[in-house]
Structures are given as structure tokens and as C-alpha cells.
Subunit: 344 residues, 4 copies
């Protein structure tokens, strides 16, 4: 349920409504709208009476949210959410391009790639310090050492860091370095982890699970928002189907569907999605044309020597060609690639 406050309601009125909600054993969530403030209500809202709120002078409107996901739904908030990641924005008119290698492999590798990306105007740098792998015998990441290198990148190059938190144990260390904490596809329904990142202030990049419906993804985002962290970026990265020529089936249909159902930004990871480097640019362009707010692309300076996922990584040179195409495409979907335009 959503209570819309009258225009410019003073703080005491807002608190009065929130107290009434709490008094009914429900939880109030302030949701700033374009003009009026909304107060979302979660909990046993079926026990609430709309009249109780409509009779309050400061209340303009009461809306029932019909979907199983509440705080993430468009019903609860009509305007697109724009997330401020330490001064850069995700979800607005600027496309968010996150690039970097799959894993942190060495300090040198990291600085080489990050340096090239920074020159291209990229702001969000990705690399995994903790790598969840299907096999216990595969490279599991440099862990704390990897985080240290990422902190150096942040300090020395001024890039925003996107890196994965694999579990609740490493989360505090990751949260210290990461501007955006990534929750991987296999952890999308690791509800304990979701609840913990819900109590942080960092932006969270939540990847869709391999067999997760769009509703499942939105429900997992709801776990995070319901704990107070509204800075959630959704990420489509491919689902499992019978097709074997691609690594996964990147489901671009999810983009317009999510745009309709939710106010949260949605980006696309074509590298994991299709999983074959020379088809990544096509899918990246497709994602933006479908309306995505950004991309997450694997870039490696020596793909054939990468410790993980080399086959799906672009070289910096090919990535630059893609950026040029994206710059052309952006205005057609009413977007821009700000810094890239400035620098390129």
C-alpha cells in the first residue's frame, strides 16, 4: 500500500503518518516522488483500512499495490529511480558503462586495463576479487589481495569500483572498497546476503539468476529495498535454455518488461549472456536499443591468457569500437555517453 502525502507536507505530518503505520505493526518506507512524497507500506497491509489514512488532512491519496513485489514496483513509485554512485548516476539520461576484466589477476594487469579504460572515458571499473566458480579446483580469485589492488585503482585512477560480494563473510571487506557491490547470478536468491546488503548504503548490482523469472528477480530486489537500501541496479545476464550455441540465452525481453514493472534501473551483461566475444558488440547494441540503462562488459588486454572467461572478453581496441557505435546509438534512445563524448 502507498500513501501519497499532500504537496510539501511538513515533517511532523510525515511522522504522524509513519507512526500510524508502525502502530498497525506495518513498516513505513519514505519514497520521494517527482513532486509529492509517498510512504510505502509493507507487512500485513491487508489488515489496514484505507479510510484510516484518507481521513488524515495531510494525505492526498492511497494506492493499493497489486503486485507481489511492492517497493520495487512502478505502482509504488512512478518515476525512474536514478542512483547516485558517488557522483555518477545510473538510471538517468546517461548510459552507464561498466567495463573491466572478469577477475583481478595481478596489480599490473589491473592497472593496464583500467588505464586504457579511463582514457576512453569509462567511469565504472569492474573486476572480481572473489570468484564463485562451479568447480572447487578453478581459480577462486585473489580475494583480499584483489580488493587491495582495486582500492589502489580507485585511489590512483579515480574510477568507481564494481566488484562482487560472494558471501556475508567477505561482504564487509568488499563494502569498504566497492562503490557498487555486485551480487552474482548464483547468489540472487541467497536471501541472507540480500538482507545484509540491504542494510548498507552502497549501490547494489543484482544479477538475474540462471533460472530466475523476472518476478523472482524483482522479489530479490524487494529483499534489499525492504531493508532500507533503495540503491539497487538490476542486471540481465542470460538465462538457461536448451540452446547450446550460446553460453546462455541473453533475455533482452526482460528490459522492456522490467522498465514497465519497476522504477529501478536495469543494465545488461552481454559478455556472460551470449558468452562469445565477437558477438558481444551486437548484443550490447541490442540491449541499449531495447532500452537498457547501461552495460557491463568484460574487457581484457590478453583475453587468451585470462584466468577466467577469456573467451567472452573484448580487447580494449574492440571495446573502443563498440563505444563509438554506442555513442551513435545513444541519442536514438534519448541517452548519451557523457564523458565519452567529452573525451573521445
Amino acid at each position: 500500500m502507498l500513501v501519497i502525502m499532500k504537496l510539501d507536507s511538513p515533517r511532523p505530518d510525515i511522522e504522524k503518518v509513519k507512526q500510524k503505520i508502525s502502530g498497525k505493526n506495518c513498516i513505513p518506507h519514505e519514497i520521494p516522488g517527482a513532486s509529492k512524497l509517498g510512504i510505502g507500506i509493507t507487512g500485513q497491509t491487508n489488515l489496514l483500512d484505507e479510510e484510516d489514512f484518507l481521513t488524515m488532512d495531510c494525505v492526498d491519496e492511497v494506492i493499493r499495490v497489486t503486485k507481489p513485489y511492492k517497493l520495487v514496483s512502478r505502482e509504488m513509485k512512478q518515476e525512474d529511480t536514478i542512483i547516485n554512485v558517488n557522483g555518477s548516476f545510473v538510471g538517468g539520461s546517461e548510459l552507464s558503462i561498466i567495463a573491466g576484466p572478469c577477475s583481478v589477476e595481478s596489480r599490473q594487469q589491473l592497472f593496464d586495463i583500467a588505464g586504457e579504460l579511463k582514457e576512453m572515458g569509462i567511469k565504472f571499473f569492474r573486476a572480481g576479487a572473489y570468484k564463485p566458480r562451479s568447480s572447487p579446483y578453478s581459480f577462486q580469485g585473489l580475494k583480499e589481495k584483489g580488493l587491495e589492488y582495486l582500492a589502489d585503482i580507485k585511489k590512483e585512477l579515480g574510477l568507481l569500483i564494481v566488484t562482487e560480494a560472494k558471501d556475508t563473510k567477505s561482504l564487509p571487506f568488499v563494502a569498504e572498497v566497492a562503490d557498487v557491490i555486485q551480487i552474482g547470478a548464483r547468489n540472487m536468491q541467497n536471501f541472507s546476503l540480500l538482507e545484509e546488503v540491504g542494510q548498507l548504503k552502497n549501490a547494489i548490482l543484482l544479477k538475474r539468476g540462471l533460472a530466475a523469472t523476472i518476478e523472482d528477480l524483482l522479489m530479490s530486489a524487494e529483499y534489499i529495498l525492504s531493508q532500507g537500501n533503495f540503491n539497487v541496479i538490476l542486471c540481465e545476464r542470460g538465462i538457461r535454455t536448451f540452446e547450446t550455441m550460446t553460453r546462455n540465452t541473453l533475455d533482452l525481453n526482460a528490459v522492456p518488461i522490467i522498465k514497465k514493472q519497476s522504477h529501478l534501473p536495469i543494465i545488461v551483461d552481454p559478455s556472460h549472456g551470449i558468452g562469445i566475444w565477437d558477438k558481444v558488440p551486437a548484443m550490447a547494441l541490442g540491449a541499449i536499443a531495447c532500452g537498457a540503462d547501461g552495460l557491463m562488459i568484460e574487457v581484457h588486454n590478453q583475453p587468451d591468457k585470462a584466468l577466467s572467461d577469456g573467451f567472452q572478453s573484448l580487447t580494449p581496441k574492440n571495446f573502443k569500437l563498440l563505444l563509438e557505435k554506442l555513442e551513435q546509438l545513444a541519442p536514438i534512445v534519448n541517452r548519451k555517453i557523457t564523458d565519452y563524448e567529452r573525451i573521445g
Copy 2:
């Protein structure tokens, strides 16, 4: 196996090679390349000896085709196939936009919609006279009467007709009217129907089946080419997955994959793919950005009264908005929408 003839080989040399192939109980297929002629060989090519051909003076090169699909593969023919549909081209620099209602419902309905589309510069008009439906109690199309109306559209408005052949029985009637004969998703592995359209000259639009891998689709195309009809247009229209918020999962990954594997043109049908009209434009733009050669879009002047698939049909007005976007997008992927540019 593919035999590449020397530049400007005279007809007798070509015939000599073809006879040698036939003499080994294999089948020769002339495949015109950009400069040199190729002669594709199908049948038990494992019994052939490359030396037999390499020792012929007129032969330049012999190439083993490693894929299970032969005539459709890029190994057999490197250049993109451009199909001449009675003067309009599919697969070249011009995007092919096929539009129209799901079914022929009445003469009036057909002319109303076709008239609007013609004004927008559309050349390919689609409408089903024979409708394969999951339920025997659903509207099955106007059949012969529907074909008659389509013939009138062709004669009076000069539009090219794209319409489905449901079975071998109605195929001769369809073939008389249709410039492009559509083979529906449920018939993609109706091999008898494929063999029969393989003996026609009409262009064939082959839709991917709901559970067909990309390899399955290419093998079905191979059935048609192996009978002599090289005018095949492939069509991605969505596969079945666990997702329920969309009608199907439109698999845009198929576009760059097919472009790499095959020389045949590939178009996309976002209307059946995502199945929700207000998300069709997003997926249409995505398809072209991914590299598709064209689109097939359902357009109806009264979607809420349509006898089939109204929920996924655009109104002419919304379709026009999409065309304007496509016109902007086309040059970014090195395409154009010729007539639309000229007229709009």
C-alpha cells in the same frame, strides 16, 4: 564439400565438374560467389577424394564443410545472400520491413490496413489466410477467400505478399499468390512441406520452432536449399523458456550467431516473440541493433477486435512511430529504409 571454379570458368568446364560429382552419386549445387563460382556437393561426400577435383584444370580450390548444415553455411558461401523478391531485396543494405495483420479477416479490413502501410512506404504486406491454431475451435482463417483478397491487394496496391502455407495441400494455392511463402514455427520440422517449397521459386520465410536450436533451424533451411530453392529467409520469433511474463522468449542472440554461421538473411518477429504490443517497438529496435536484416511486425487498425493475436498488434499510428525510430537507427548498423526515407 565445395569446389571453387577458376575465375570465369566457361560453361563446359562447369558441366564437367558437375558430371564428375553426379558420377560419384553425389549432388552438385551451383553457388554463385562474388567473383568465382562455387559448386557445393551434398550426399555421401565422405566417399569423395579432393584430389579428383584438384587435378582438374578448371578447379581453383576444394573446401571441406565441417558443419552438419552444408548449403546454408558460410563455409559454402562467404557472401551474404541477397534475395530478389520480385524486385525488392532482402538481405542487403536495405532493411526489410514486413507488416500487416495476423489474419485476413475481411476484404475491408485488409484494404484499410494495407492502404495505411503502403502510404508509409511498406513494401511487404503480411496476413494469414490459413491459420494454424492450437485449438480446433479457434478461428482457422478465411482460407481460399483470404488468398483471393490478398491477390487483390497485390494487384491493386502493388504490395508484395507474405502469407503462410499450412500444409502441402494448400501450398499450390498459396504459392500462386505469395511472393514470400511463410513456413510457421510449428511446421519448421514438417520435412515434407519443406521439400515441397524447396521445389518452388518463391522466396520462403522459415520461422524458428519453439524448441528448435539454431542448428535445427539451419538444418531445416538445408532441406529447402537441397531441393534447389536458395531463396530462404530465416526468422527468429521466440523460443519456449520458463519465463511467463512474455509470450515467448525472443532470442536475439540467434541473430549474430546465424550471421556468423550462415549466408542467409535473418529477420525477427518481435510481435510473436514478446507478445505484448507496447514492448514490440523496444524489441524491434533491439533486433535491428543486433544485426537483423529486417522485421515482421503485426499491425492492426483495431487490435482489440482482431480475430487473432490482437494483444500483440501495433496500431498503424504506433507502427509509424516505430518506423521513424528505425529510420534513425538504420544507418548506425549500415542499413537504410529506402522507400520509407523517400516518402516519409
Copy 3:
């Protein structure tokens, strides 16, 4: 809609009801029940008024059928359908075991295998004369010659023949020889073929398509019943999923679901389902334990030399071991393997 006649209604009463139905532009179908006769109604039943029938003296009850499939549904007919295939029964207390090679390869091969199977008490012999294959270059069956051999088997060994009709063109020839006409998975939604077999008297074995929901399968059966042929045996044979260790995912869940939704018999084909011969017996036992009415099993005397699907075929010796297990299992699910018990 279903009209239940009063007990022992005389023929003129029945005709009166049928005429009333026809008079409303709907189609009546006589459905014999355990005691009372039902008259199923298809067509635009939403235009019918139940009162029109309830006021007739000879009518006992009127039932609305809520499912999209009508004649195949349990609502329309509560008793299990038992199909009489020239003296042998499918769907009753006796398990129906259909066995034989994938394809007719030669007269000798056919008689060798059929002879061994007959000795084991098998009544239903399967082998394909027309083989739908993904590749146009694969063995397509012996066609008319194959049918001839099957006719010989029938005449000389007295086995009932189960063989596939690939298209409407070959259907008349197949129908002459086959006691049970098989419609393959890829033809499950070849509606023209379904309509034609609906006009025959032969029993029809309808295999589930690779991406067909259970509802789709029942709708396809409905096509056949709606044309007058109620002798339909459904067959689960595996669906397409992401799993790659099996050929298909044999969906045994379909068995209890179909038993609840429909009165038609359902058998299972574990050979195509799991696709690996040494796992076929496990899945065969599982199918019967789940409640299936029978099995279709590929048996070949030289699996490694089979022209198709050898990898999933049992040798006669292994098949006999399976039969012994099935004989033990049958009584637990209130079934028997009659002739096998008598002979074995």
C-alpha cells in the same frame, strides 16, 4: 458442454438432442459412459442455454466443460478410455508394450527382431518406414518398401503394427498397414495431418512435441477427436530442457497429470526420452510406477549397426530382462502383462 442422457435413452431421444445441437450450429459427439450416454458439444457453446436441454425429458444432466480441451477431458468422460486395437486393448488393466527397431532397415532385420519379440509375448511391433530426420542427408527410411515388409510381419507373425505417418501424402499407405498410426513429436502440431487421421478409424499414437506443454498435447488430441476418431493414445517422449547429459528430459510428471485431466490412455517412450540404452530400463520401470498405460521401447538385434538411434536401443536379451522386471512391477500398480505371463 456435455449433455448426459437418461439411463437407456432410446435412439430417437438421442437423435432429438443431437438435432437440437446441430440446429444451434454446434456439433454433437456421442460419448458412451459406463452406464449413461453423454453427448459432448463443441463449437460456439457459449451461445447455448443449458435450460434448452434440461427441459427435455430424456436429459438427465448438463455439464459445462471448463477446460480449453473438451472431448479429451475427464469432465466430458469420467471413465478411462480403453482402445480396442483389433482385439488387443490399450488403456485397461493390461500394460501395452510396443517394441521394435527405430527404422525398417531390411526384411531380414525386421523378421529377426519381430520373431524374437513375438516369442516374448509382445503384441505391438514398431518400426518406421518413413523417418523424419533433422538432416536432409540422413537415412529417411525405406518408405513404401518398408511398409511392405511391415505388412508381411503382420500377415506372417500376427503382430499388430505401429508405424509413423510423416505426412498427408503417405498417410493412406500407412493407414492400410498400421494398426496404430504414430504421429511423431515434430508433427504434433501439424494440424492438417491431425485432421486427416481424425477421419480414420485406426488407433492413433500421438507423441508429445519437444516444447509442447501438456495442454498443447491435449489440444492436439482434441483435433483428432473433434473429427470423430476417439482412438487416441497419448505418448510422453521427453521435452527439451537445459540438461545435456540426456537426449531429452523424459517428463514422467506428465503421466499423473494427464491421467487426471483426460480419459485417454498415456504411454511412455523412454528410449527417445533419456536416449541412452543402459538407462532405458530404469525409466521404463519408473514410467509404469508413475501410472503409465504402457511403453514404447526400441529394440534392435545389432544396436551398433542400426541406421538410426542405435545408441538408445536395447538388445532383445536386455529387453527380456526388462520385461521380467515389468511383470513383477505390474501388479503393484494393478496391472498385468497378460500374454507375457502366459508365455514367459
Copy 4:
């Protein structure tokens, strides 16, 4: 790689081999075979030379393991693993039947159901204290209170407790009460949790993820074994497909496949698998006929009032009918239901 020691190798010889392995930066794992001891090797075994071991007097044989999963594979250990769960065995001739409600709801509910099950001879009692739920607003379990009640059941009724560990945080509490710790489907690739349970002695019930291939499941089991805990029971519980008439598609094909690939026991959960209570018995029988080592069945005394998954729960009465059927079925697959036979 697997080193097979000579018969009755003395401890010093075993240690010598293990030291050689450790000396090469690989990890040795003792794997007791029927007669001879095996020493499995994981790590960078490609750097090892087989000759190094074959030249040792105490070594009988060296086997390369070709699968990506090592310790769980049949190549590494040919005999079926039989797990001793505090005196009861999983994986041997006795079928393991785990029964109980989805969630612990109250002390009373728990004792009522457990009492009835104990009377039927059931040894393994399941109930969730921590419940991972798609929605943050759904009942999440009684948590610590729930564990307390389960400990009471264990003490007072002597039943073995099977209950889920949702995260590493609650794991120590769960491990204190649980005889078998369940890892749920959504946590199958929560590798940090897998590593932690790998360091415990409790038996682990590892459920297959919704989109996990059989290989994925075996790789996840490998995580646990590689940490030293060989007491792993696999559990098939349904995968996600396009079918909507069932909650999931219970994939019984996994049973014979896993039996071939791995020495670990595999049980089946038909309650979550098909998700509809009146079809659970059919799938349970099917699972055992396919070769499963046991079942996990939801039983609730008031299914319509259950706080979770009531729709898929059997009443004790219906569960007893199933047990009677299972008792008949067991000998056909060379199994028994020991205590049930003794008591029932």
C-alpha cells in the same frame, strides 16, 4: 587422479604416498574401497607424473579421472557410498524415507506429525526452522525456536533430524541439532556455505538447483567432499522448464544418470518436484522404480492450514497408503523398508 594401494598396505606406506602427493602441492584424500584403499588426488594433477607413483612398491595402480568432478565420480570410487547417519544407513539396501512438514510451525504441530510418522516406522524427520522464501514478506520460519523444538523431537522420539541450513551464520546452530543438514536448491551454488558444511561431520543433503545441470550438482557435491566431508546425499527436486501444470519438472532421468556417474546416494523429493499432493505418490513410486535410494516427502496433518507448501503435502493417512505401496515396490528394485516392514 587416483592411486590404488596394494592390498592391506600398512599405514606407513599410505602416509608415504600422501606425503609425496602433498610434496607436489596436491591434496590427498583417502577413499576406502571394498578391498583396497584408494588415495584420490585433487589440485593441479596435470603436473603429476603417473610413473612417480607406479614405481612405488606399495602402489597397485594409478587411474586418471577424466570427469571435471573427481572425488564424487565412479571413476574415483566404484562401490556405492553408504552413509551412516547415527546408526541408520542411506544408500544401501534399505530405502531412506524422510518425512515431515515443510516448516516447523509450533511445538504441538511438530509432535503431532512426528508422533504419527514414528508409529509408521519412519526414522528420518524433516521440518524447516529457517525457510528461504522468494518474498521477504512470507513466513521465514521459527528459526532458533524451531531448532529447539526439533531438538526435543530428537530427544523424546528418537527420530533423526533433517533440517535446512540457510546460511553460514545459522549453520553452527543447525549443525548441533541436525543429523542431516539440508542445503536447499537456491543455495546449491552458495559455494561458501558448501565449503563450511564440507568441514563438518554431519551428513549433508544437497538439493539440485532449479537450473542446475547434473554436472553442476556433482560439482557442488565436489566442493563438500574436497573439504573432507564425504557424507553427501544428493537430492533431485525438480527443474525449471516451460511446463506450467506442475510446480517444477521432477527430472527422474537424473537418478540413473547419477547412479552411473557417481558413488553417492541420490534421493528424490516429489513434493517440491511436481508440487501437487495427489500426484506425489505416483512420482514417489516412479522415483524408487527408477533406482533412487530414498524419498523426501512432505507430510502435514492439516495441509490446508500449513504456513508453507500445504498444497503439496500429504496427510499422514495418505502417506501411510504410499508407504504400503513402497513396501511392495521395494523388493522389485532389490530394496527394503526395514523398520516399516517390522512395525507396519
